[in-house]
Symmetry: C2
Subunit: 217 residues, 2 copies
């Protein structure tokens, strides 16, 4: 089985993972849903429609060229440890936001600076970590309604970032190159701000848009 | 001399400070421009138009109810030490972005978590620190052109935040309550991202907008 072009969505039965998997499959990408339970992954894949298959996280990661990780912060370490043997030389797209319940409206960045840098540390040097999709309202992505949200894409390698900018476009959003992995702190922190704004101003899924005339780089 | 309603802009001869001072004076606020040199402050005030006066930073802070600090990160500590004796019980609006040249396109948050939290630590408990105006393109604010940028306002006291939300509106922008001071990391970090985007996509002052239907809180 060739991995070329195949995308694994680890934690793909969760809200963000499921929505991304569906959108990317609808755009014609070959998508594998990963879950701790292969059975749950297969069930989700058959529910979501054609173009999707389901596997345990490890096998999903092994079969893919690009591995998107969509798990809660509390599960990030264990999840990355599980897939680490299968992602050497690959692009891992970390979507983790360091929300620490119950204070999810308060920015609490990890000691590494960001969840993305923590992912790079946990996976080691041989893996290209890119981070993105932090501010996307999963329920809007799932229904296909207008998201009103840009996707800031962070990573130390421009070519890898560019692949994720393309993924964002295929999922129906504008992806924007936003600098090195260290810059991920901005979007990760912004998620707590958006949750605060949702509560304070009774918004159904506030997002962020970058303004100004962006010329193709 | 009553301080009520008076605003001091510390570092008010700089790009952001001068633009904010002008906009607020135009909106009818009493504004004092502060600078390390009283002479430079007076010169700027007379250039910028009526409603403005100029004083040394310390005297400007003493004479104001709300003290806006607009200095580079490298000058934050010395500036706050200078005005500290004059701001007890007042609102200090810190606009500092932790840019560390030459790597200004890379997020580098200080050990305190944000420049805003650093300001609170430097000023002590008796001062109400609010942070805002991190992402504003000063040259656009100065010319009065459409900014395309919301002002995220951070602070642990809602009433103090509300005063700064009003200031943002008077300066021609939408101010948004964005949570506790710790959340300032999001907007401070976003400034490096916007500088990256300006360079990468040849934008003249990219900004951020919060999307979604915000209801008055």
């Amino acid at each position: 089985m060739t991995t070329e072009g195949t995308i694994a969505v680890i934690g793909g039965t969760g809200n963000l993972g499921a929505a991304l998997a569906r959108r990317l499959a609808e755009a014609g990408r070959k998508v594998i849903i990963g879950s701790r339970s292969a059975e749950a992954a297969q069930r989700a894949a058959s529910e979501f429609g054609s173009g999707l298959t389901g596997l345990a996280n490890e096998q999903a990661a092994e079969a893919a060229e690009i591995v998107i990780v969509t798990v809660p912060f509390a599960a990030q370490e264990a999840t990355l440890a599980a897939i680490r043997p299968y992602v050497a030389g690959k692009i891992v797209v970390d979507t983790t936001v360091p929300l620490m319940p119950p204070k999810v409206m308060r920015v609490q960045l990890p000691p590494e600076g960001s969840a993305a840098q923590r992912a790079q540390k946990l996976l080691g040097e041989g893996v290209t970590v890119v981070s993105a999709f932090h501010n996307v309202a999963a329920h809007k992505l799932a229904t296909g309604e207008e998201l009103g949200c840009d996707v800031l894409v962070f990573g130390d390698e421009k070519a890898a970032r560019a692949k994720v900018v393309t993924l964002a476009a295929q999922a129906g959003m504008r992806g924007i190159h936003a600098g090195p992995l260290a810059n991920s702190a901005s979007a990760e922190a912004m998620t707590s701000v958006l949750i605060f704004i949702n509560k304070n101003y009774q918004v159904d899924g506030a997002g962020i848009k970058i303004t100004g005339a962006l010329k193709e780089s």
